[in-house]
């Protein structure tokens, strides 16, 4: 018993400029000796009309008092505007509500109470009424309809469709639409991206639009020269790509029915130590790729937080939740079409561009890449290379490395090795060149730990792994900053890589076979096959 009395509720709500009796004494005069859970009115109109009724003394609260009813409190229904609970006496739900149960049932319940057989019947009765609970029925319908849709989806969605056109989307959009086969694939972070594109821009002397350019023509040329045949490399590397992303990226590539014979994966310490990534699911590629790749065998490692794990389970098992993005995209497409018909966008004035949008709404689809937004220009071979010091950025990235994240990324590196073995893909892991300054920021002890872990992995899994970080070969002139190679550095890297691969028996064999197979396929494709050409030999 904590309250002696209450004087109920405020007077007419918000009557700031109405006259009132506001002296403390006057307020106190409204005190009613009651145990009232009084009137928490839920409707402002009813604030004016509520009357305080003396209730039972506070010291003896009734065993079965219902808070809501005992206090004339109104309960709300579909709207926040409320209704009185007694209104339920007219709906189907009340037929089973405790208040309106049959006299016989009431007698039985009373009997059971008086005979002291406690509350089993009461509990049963309570839960019987739950069968007609609006929420229970709605939840049951929701669950059953989701289950039905999971077993027999009413519509198949194209998972390559994605509203956010980030790096991963552009990479796979290109690959998905490509009719060409690719026999080599590159994986890696921005270190690989910059090496490939800088060297290609200089080699081709063309401006490269990275949203649409995913080749590695300079590397293809070197491979052809070294191993013969034809090479078509697809560059799957993406800024910030971590081993978890690399694993998913290759998995997703296989889903497009493109199967490379050789995969070169360039790794660097940042891929394992980045403090700015709290979890493998924070990366931009993950957001897109997890739609394409079945993660049943690795979700426990990917999701650190229990809520992320729950979210994954819901996405996997609840049809509407798992396909929410696809459904909303489909709906939005239809709405957009309707809008274009009903109110076409004004044409008399300049169109609203991507650039306008990122100015007005910088957070909306942040990081989305415009098809012309990321361009690499050929480096002038005569001009001195420019160097940007990005040490402060890497101080942040290497600060407080998370050992758990490090282990998770190693786990995905191993998964990638296993995937390649399963698919009979020759995997070549290379430790990318970075400057000594960058290693100093990380700490040489940690760097050596990382290199040794790569070596151990290669030994245990019988995989090719090469350390290309040759301080004698690369000078500061080969770098655009502490970690990214410029065109000169890129050229050196690929020459070194091709040499090393040529010195490894199994890799050389794989590359030679692949190059020649592609050359033969190309020859066949180039031949003019007549429409009525028939053969028993499968092509």
């Amino acid at each position: 018993m904590t309250l002696q009395s209450t004087n109920g509720i405020p007077n007419a709500a918000g009557a700031l400029n109405s006259s009132q009796t506001d002296a403390p004494g006057a307020a106190a005069s409204g005190v009613v000796q009651s145990k009232a859970v009084d009137v928490q009115a839920t409707n402002i109109d009813q604030f004016d009309t509520l009357k305080l009724e003396p209730l039972a003394p506070v010291s003896a609260p009734s065993e079965t008092t219902d808070r809501v009813e005992s206090n004339s409190v109104q309960s709300s229904s579909l709207q926040s505007n409320s209704v009185q609970t007694d209104s339920h006496q007219t709906g189907p739900s009340q037929t089973n509500s405790p208040q309106v149960r049959s006299p016989q049932a009431a007698t039985e319940a009373e009997l059971s109470t008086t005979t002291g057989t406690v509350t089993l019947e009461k509990i049963e009765e309570t839960f019987r009424s739950g069968r007609y609970s609006v929420f229970n029925v709605a939840l049951a319908i929701f669950i059953v309809s989701n289950l039905l849709m999971s077993f027999s989806p009413p519509i198949e969605f194209d998972k390559f469709k994605f509203p956010y056109q980030g790096w991963a989307w552009w990479t796979f959009n290109d690959l998905h639409q490509s009719s060409e086969e690719h026999n080599v694939a590159l994986l890696g972070s921005s270190l690989m991206v910059s090496a490939v594109n800088n060297s290609d821009a200089m080699y081709t002397q063309k401006e490269l639009n990275l949203a649409k350019y995913h080749k590695a023509v300079y590397l293809d040329k070197l491979l052809s020269e070294k191993f013969g045949g034809t090479f078509r490399t697809y560059n799957l590397a993406a800024p910030g790509q971590m081993p978890s992303d690399a694993y998913m990226t290759l998995h997703a590539m296989l889903k497009t029915h493109q199967r490379p014979d050789v995969v070169v994966y360039g790794v660097a310490p940042r891929d394992f130590y980045d403090s700015s990534m709290s979890s493998p699911v924070d990366t931009e590629p993950f957001k897109f790729l997890h739609r394409l790749v079945n993660l049943d065998d690795s979700w426990n490692k990917l999701f650190k937080s229990p809520f992320d794990k729950l979210n994954f389970i819901l996405e996997r098992d609840v049809f509407l939740y798992g396909n929410a993005l696809d459904i909303s995209m489909t709906v939005m497409e239809k709405v957009n079409e309707t809008f274009d018909k009903v109110i076409p966008a004004p044409t008399a004035i300049s169109a609203f561009t991507y650039w306008d949008r990122i100015k007005l709404l910088p957070a909306y689809k942040a990081g989305e890449i415009h098809p012309l937004a990321v361009v690499v220009r050929p480096q002038d071979p005569k001009a001195p290379p420019t160097f940007t010091d990005n040490t402060p950025e890497y101080k942040e990235r290497y600060k407080n490395p998370d050992l758990k994240n490090y282990r998770i990324q190693h786990y995905f590196l191993l998964k990638l090795v296993e995937l390649c073995k399963r698919e009979r893909i020759e995997l070549v892991v290379v430790n990318m060149p970075i400057t000594l300054e960058n290693i100093r920021v990380l700490g040489s002890y940690k760097y050596m730990g990382y290199v040794n872990a790569l070596r151990q992995m290669a030994k245990d899994k019988k995989t090719r792994a090469f350390d290309l970080n040759d301080f004698a070969l690369y000078s500061l002139n080969d770098y655009a900053d502490g970690v990214h190679l410029n065109a000169f550095g890129g050229n050196k890297l690929f020459r070194q890589l091709v040499d090393i691969m040529g010195g490894t028996f199994s890799t050389r064999l794989a590359l030679e076979a692949s190059g020649h197979h592609m050359a033969r396929s190309k020859e066949l494709a180039d031949q003019n096959v007549p429409d009525n050409f028939k053969t028993d030999i499968p092509l």
Binding site: S80, N81, S82, Y132, I141, A345, I349
Partner: protein, 483 residues
């Protein structure tokens, strides 16, 4: 922990199940623990603050009750202590900044101290609840003797972060009632929660994009666009906060508790005073009871009442945030409330016939005019600086000229096709306004007292599906969390 997060989707059912299987005596401690878990999930150290304030008020307020001659002094001490804590956490930066600007204007370059104060969530709400308790005890109401009950009053998780601001006389007695589980609690609670989430996720979050673009770059839009953007913000803040309140009330109802409502179709208000009867009701009643009335209320002269209204609303504006634009918004609200009183006075004096004032046309015109007055206020409220607000209002004032030569080509919002909410405004805003009228009509017809069972189920299933599909991954926080 956000109401629209997966964490809450797990937290609420767990607490709900534990609550109803726990004996009555342990229910308050259980809710107390849950509320502290909820609060400390933001930042564990915040828990110490709310506990310290709770303990301080619990120990100090009895001195007000016991004292015979020094009641006022004790009340002053308790209120001041609460306000000092609020001031330190909420207004320290603002005060230091204002002093610095003042000194700079006088040619003095003051190197202000570096403060590292994080604003604890919900502090404005629970400090107001403590002050209400102290004042009510001063006015002769009984003390709360059970520390657990008092602690739960302050920290009850559904209302902890953004209200509604509770009254202890209404809340505490509910804790003592040995209630039994009823499915009605689940049905009505879940209906409120789903409706509230729909208001937030489906309407407010989408309109937020429009407000963000318009208020950050008013120079990009025409006068008519800026009006549409201001309407959009008016509905954004309403659906955001009303959505929060619905989820709070629904969550409380799952445990059988009632908390006050905060909104009653505010945009069909026919004058400024009516608006404040319908908008953030728990705050407006608090301001009335613990600021306006102690200042003298409307008992004094006409000008004294105006002064009291002005001070109340200006401080109410400042309560929303430590920034000049909130203060200006409060002042503006005071001015339009005074304007309304003067208009009433003028009508009486001139002798405008009752039939005119009570006519439908007059009422409709009043509603439209009031809505626009409120919208002008929202510009001050939402704009980051007074300068942006003035830029917007100056441009918005040119709307009549623009309308004289109006064509759809003038509307920038129609050009933006991604996100689609921009062109959708031309349909959505009228629909939302008409929606308020329809809901009001249905309420008058007592439709909500007995909606068909099948319709209730249908609406619930539809809401579950819509929320599942359209709930964005990163729905922003509720607007009133920052206050």
């Amino acid at each position: 922990m956000l109401f629209n997060s997966l964490q809450y989707l797990v937290f609420l059912p767990v607490v709900f199940l534990l609550y109803w299987v726990t004996p009555h005596k342990l229910r308050v401690p259980l809710l107390l623990v849950a509320s502290y878990v909820f609060y400390m999930s933001w930042k564990p150290v915040y828990g110490i603050l709310i506990f310290g304030l709770t303990l301080g008020n619990f120990l100090l307020v009895p001195f007000i009750a016991r004292s015979v001659n020094r009641k006022k002094l004790w009340l002053g001490i308790v209120v001041a202590a609460n306000l000092i804590v609020l001031g330190i956490f909420k207004y320290a930066y603002f005060t230091v900044g204002a002093i610095k600007s003042g000194l700079a204007a006088g040619g003095i370059d003051w190197r202000e101290p570096h403060l590292h104060i994080l604003l604890p969530l919900g502090i404005s709400f629970f400090v107001f609840e403590f002050i209400h308790y102290a004042v009510e005890v001063y006015r002769g109401k009984p003390l709360v003797k059970n520390f657990f009950n008092f602690s739960l009053f302050a920290s009850f998780f559904p209302t902890q972060i953004a209200g509604p601001i509770k009254r202890y006389q209404d809340f505490i007695p509910q804790l003592d009632i040995k209630s039994k589980f009823k499915w009605e609690y689940v049905d009505e609670g879940m209906q409120l929660i789903l409706v509230g989430l729909a208001k937030k996720v489906l309407i407010a979050d989408n309109l937020a994009l429009v407000a963000q673009a318009g208020f950050n770059h008013p120079e990009q839009f025409s006068a008519c666009d800026l009006w549409l953007i201001t309407y959009a913000f008016a509905f954004q803040i309403f659906f955001d906060f009303a959505g929060y309140t619905d989820v709070a009330r629904g969550s409380a109802l799952l445990f059988g508790y009632k908390v006050p409502i905060n909104f009653n179709l505010p945009y069909i208000a026919s004058n400024a005073a009516d608006f404040w009867h319908r908008w953030h009701i728990s705050l407006s009643t608090w301001l009335r009871d613990y600021l306006f009335i102690p200042l003298g209320g409307s008992r004094g002269s006409r000008w004294a009442t105006h002064r009291n209204l002005f001070i109340t609303m200006a401080l109410g504006g400042l309560w929303h945030g430590a920034a000049f634009h909130y203060l200006i918004w409060g002042v503006y609200q005071g001015v339009i409330l005074i304007g309304h009183r003067e208009w009433q006075h003028f009508c009486k004096k001139v002798g405008v016939p009752k039939s005119v004032i009570e006519s439908k046309i007059y009422h409709i015109a009043s509603v439209i005019l009031t809505f626009h007055f409120v919208c002008v206020g929202w510009v001050f409220f939402r704009a980051d600086t007074e300068k942006i607000a003035m830029t917007m209002l100056t441009k918005m004032a040119q709307a009549p000229v623009e309308l004289m030569h109006f064509s759809l080509n003038q509307l920038e919002v129609l050009k933006i096709r991604d996100p689609l909410i921009f062109p959708a405004l031309v349909f959505l805003l009228p629909a939302l306004m008409i929606g308020q009228v329809v809901v009001n009509y249905l309420k008058d017809k007592k439709f909500y007292q007995s909606p068909p069972w099948a319709m209730q189920v249908g609406v619930m299933v539809a809401l579950m599906c819509l929320l599942t599909i359209f709930s964005p991954d990163s729905s922003p926080r509720f607007i009133y969390f920052q206050f």
